[in-house]
Amino acid sequence: MLISLPVLFLVLAALALLILRLFRPNFKYPWVVALSGAILAFAGVMLWQVRFPASASLPAWQPLSVFNYIPTWLADGVSWPYALSLTTLAAAIILTSVVRNENAPMPWAGTLLLTALGILAVSAGDPLTLILAWTAIDLAELITMLRSTEGESQNRAVVVAFAIRLVGTGFVIWASAVSSAAHLPMNFDRITSNAGIYLLFASGLRLGVLPLHLPYRKENVLRRGFGTSLRLVSAAASLSVLARIPAGTLDSPWTPFLLALTALPAIYAGWMWLRASDEILGRPFWVLGMAALAVASTLRASPEGSIGWGVALILCGGLVFLYSARQRSILWLPLLGLWGISALPFSPSAAAWTTGNGASWFFLLPFLPAQALLIAGFVRHALHPGETSLESQERWARILYPAGLFLLAASSVLLGLWGWDGSRTFGVWWAAIPVALLAGGAVILALKVLARTQSAISQWGDVLRLDPFYKFLNSIVRFLEGLARFVTTTLEGEGGIFWSILLLVLILSLLSAGGG
């Protein structure tokens, strides 16, 4: 029951906003309704700790002779930090909306509903529940993006993003089939050694890490509030599964290769995030970079590390994306967010560099500069002048807005100390030293050099574009399309009936020869 409480609060608040919008469009306090829903959901997630761990289930799918499936949600060490981060983000989005031009209640309702779906995804207790939650989020994103984008290429990018996520979901279904082949219905408690890698691919593909791809290169449609929610909830839903993959299932000769493949998006995204002209335009790279670090943690058999990066992605990302009205006196708030991604002892990412399998330290090295670039980008974007000045806001807004940002920073600190099994740890603290030095250097470079040489390095963004690869794929598809057209034209042509009979005779003779 406690598990469903936050989802219930969020959905009820969203429905209330919808009903008010339809029947009392002049209602003056939709913001209060939205905030109440978010705060109650936050409290609801906190209440999970009363009975921990716990699970909740819906009735089993019928008939039982066919389905071995009971939709289940878990409140445990994996889902709790993610759920807390998501509700914190929702509350922060609504609190900080006072300084933005976002007074329409519908984006708040959207944020609340998305957060509810996000909680259902991160707390999914089995792959099928996860699949359903993922699909709901994907459909929500597809509809939102198609409604808000203009132009053929932008719309195509939206559909491509949806298609890639669908393929990612397909990997989970395939993992389930692989488990079934071993006569072991898939459950997060027992994942066969073959299925684990497919779950990793599912998550990696949805996040754009494995293989590197970035459908939304231009983040100019959905800005701070709802846009941040959409991007981060979607990422959190894909990240949570990483912590549920047993370390042993990924111990294969392919692991070093996959680590190397993951390092590429990590460094690329870090660099692009650093050089993005503002944090919103850099948002896809932040998500990609942090997600790559989380995937790398999983590959190094450190689920705690992946949770750390996942939580930091949401909370620290939320902090910098929502920091639109700026003032020197509150600069400490976003900079407090640095704690979350520092990998220093007792920070959420403290366990980031621990390694639970035999992966060599050598494979850690490419990820350190990636982390440094992400930190440097974070500092650079936090130091920008921003969209508005906080001083120009109403007095109450000057209290609520920093409160929203503080909530994110405070949750980040809290989760480092009291988050999940494996948090509150020293971790590999010395790795933070070279990272800090590198990040410092990158910040200086960014602030002094980058602004002057933007045009010269703008081509860097195109270096890793996969256009030639897609062109190659396209030519293969065209060839196969020609082949398919030849076959269908032959079978549907004048002699089609005879071709069909001939084909049947051929198949029957082949089968009888095989049988004989």
Partner: protein, 465 residues
Amino acid sequence: MSAPALWIFFPIALGGLLSLLRNQKLITLVAGIVCAFLAITALLLPIDTPLAVQALTFKLAPSFELLGRRLTLTNSDRAWLALLYGGSAFWFMAASSIKIARRLIPFGMAITGFLVAALAVEPFLYAALLIETAVLLAIPLLSPPDKKPGKGILRFLIYQTIAMPFILFSGWLLAGIEANPGDLMLVARSATLLGLGFALLLAVFPFYTWIPLLTEEAHPYVAGFILWIFPTVTMFFGLGFLDRYAWLRDAAVLPSILTTVGVLMIFTGGLLAFFQRHLGRMMGYAVIAETGFSLLGLGLGGSYGLNTFLLLCIPRVIGLALWSLALSNLLEHAPSLTLDNLKGAGRIWSFSSTGAILASLSLAGAPMLASFPAHQAIWDGLARQSLAATTWVFLGSLGLAISAIRVLTALASAPEGSPWGVRETWSQRVFLLIGWLLLFLLGILPSWAASFWARLPSLFEHLGQ
């Protein structure tokens, strides 16, 4: 009153009467109400059991004799009767919204009646003749008198007609087997002829080429109806054989044949759907793959196989009806249903476009949509037997999903500044919306579909035990 009179003669006669009417809405209303009534009666009314309603007592007799042949409907037939008439009600009610009621409903009612008769007739070999009658009735429905019949319609007629002698011959041989069960040669010949007959009736690989041709040239709604009712009835007809003949049901080779054919149909259907540029043809290939899934489900054997087969029935009718309705609406906007002609149509035909996408994704087995639970069960069941076969099936499903994504890309590719709008009429919107909701409902709570089958008497005496 007899059950055949209610579920066979009455709809056929009503079809004849409705052909005399001109008012689309009246035809739709009468046919919709009658089909819904027949479905509800099948659900609630036991056959051959005396029923007392206050002072009145009556009993639905199970049999009716006609020219020495018997039409028999028993309690075990009520489930498929409810499915066929419930499905027909679903199809007929939306027909007037696209102004096709006058053409579809009279013939549709008669076709349904004849196909029910085919499942009820004894000796069963007369079923072939009744199916052929239904096929002949489908021709004027598919090809209006002012239009020259296309290649797909002719092929449909040819393949279904070739099937008839195979079924008749096998029926004759089966009578011989009953008299002399030890004659293995006779058994093999009979099984081969029966298999060929069903392969032609069901449009099994490689005899399915007429389906994409038909969906390309005929009205999408009519084609959808035909592609729903004929394979569904043929499947139940085939299951009747399996239930009746132990030697056929217990044949060691049967599961592997069903599985191989099913995998072939899913893979080739999905692969060819991937390369299509015509939405009607894509629907045709999805139907082929869907028949493959049904065969594959049956190939899994036992109660698991039968249950997965039954689970597919309701999502299929909803998915196909929604897809056909959506395509019929889109056809009003564009000269043809090619991807190029429908570029950006999603902005102004948003209900139909969403319907087409959801239906195609559902038939591809996408999560949250009606066909997903049954497909998931089939993937899992098949994986337990052969992971290699599952790979082929998965690739086929992927092909179907990609074809749906291609449609989505085309429908969403509106030039910058294109306005949003809703061109569908209110009635079209309502039917499309009902279709969307049912797809989601059955995708998330498949137990509702399962309860339909569980509540009714067992369909088969031996099959699935």
